[in-house]
């Protein structure tokens, strides 16, 4: 038991995580490609035309995965942040920092595809639908997190301040979602649901799941790429960075 614990902490040090991440990145890119190609093939060539929404519904295959990932990444980010606060590990803060831009991108893509879906379906680029509105606020939360970390020069302080903000955000997200939903029903907002078409064909569901997996693997791969850069930026003056092959060359 204690042996395993030590192993985990060994990988939690930036020094051993840096090469490990380097080895993992190609695998996650390969998985992204496999799931992505399979998902795109299903979503464009297998999934039948929707009876109500025609071909326009195919946006679902990226809109829903992007929305899922934007929420999931915030949770993962907050988990890393909490871990960093509790155990005081250096890597956790770096992971949270590496995940934030990807999460913000996912939130943005979800908004963008939502707008492009809303235009033909609702006749408006933007509808104050409960999901879109909470996604917008989630996007603001990501921007706040990134801005706070960018404004603090001392990385340790930036990590901790960001961690507190992420945890406050994670407590607030369900409250915000609930309040927006409440507000939406009160104002008789859009009644067409983006995600729940009355009878979703089995192939549509599979396409969506495969695309979600592709987005997931993509997020891991790009976050690992970013965390490698962050590790080097923060550990510039340590011996192990100076001993790296890539630096010695």
């Amino acid at each position: 038991m204690s042996n395993r614990l030590i192993n985990w902490f060994k990988f939690a040090s930036p020094q051993s995580f840096y090469p490990l991440a380097g080895k993992m990145i190609p695998w996650f890119w390969a998985l992204t490609a496999v799931f992505g190609i399979a998902g795109l093939w299903l979503s464009f060539f297998v999934a039948p035309t929707d009876a109500v929404q025609g071909e326009g519904y195919r946006i679902i295959f990226i809109h829903v995965p992007a929305s899922w990932m934007s929420m999931f990444i915030y949770l993962v980010m907050a988990a890393w942040a909490g871990l960093g606060l509790a155990l005081n590990t250096r890597l956790s803060g770096m992971m949270a920092q590496a995940l934030a831009p990807t999460g913000a991108l996912m939130a943005f893509l979800s908004l963008w595809t939502g707008a492009l879906w809303g235009k033909p379906m609702w006749g408006a680029w933007w509808v104050w639908d409960a999901r879109l509105t909470s996604e917008l606020i989630l996007f603001f939360l990501y921007i706040g997190f990134i801005a706070l970390q960018a404004a603090i020069d001392d990385p340790r302080r930036a990590d901790k301040a960001g961690a507190i903000l992420a945890l406050v955000g994670v407590v607030n997200i369900p409250i915000i979602y609930f309040s927006v939903k409440w507000w939406n029903t009160l104002h008789q907002g859009a009644s067409v649901s983006l995600t729940k078409s009355p009878s979703m064909a089995q192939t549509m569901l599979w396409g969506m799941l495969l695309m979600a997996l592709a987005f997931w693997m993509y997020s891991i791969a790009v976050a690992l790429m970013r965390v490698r850069a962050i590790i080097l930026e923060r550990e510039t003056h340590t011996e192990w960075v100076k001993e790296l092959e890539a630096v010695k060359r």
């Binding site: 595809t113 235009k119 993509y218 790009v222 490698r228 930026e233 790296l244 890539a246 630096v247």
Partner: protein
């Protein structure tokens, strides 16, 4: 096969602008983001390399 011709595929039953606008933006950003991350990594490696060379020159001068 549900598409009879490439033109039909790109037209997306009249929803071409919306469908390709969505997928296009996704592809664009999901290609740009890793490139930016890779560039950031290369940048810091270059800085580190320069610092090391400077250090070596310092040692030689002594």
């Amino acid at each position: 096969m549900i598409w009879n011709s490439p033109a039909e595929f790109f037209a997306m039953g009249g929803y071409g602008l919306y469908v390709w606008g969505s997928f296009g933006a996704c592809v664009l950003f999901m290609v740009a983001e890793p490139i930016m991350a890779a560039r950031r990594h290369k940048q810091i490696l270059r800085t580190l390399r320069r610092a090391r060379i400077a250090e070596d020159l310092d040692k030689e001068a002594k």
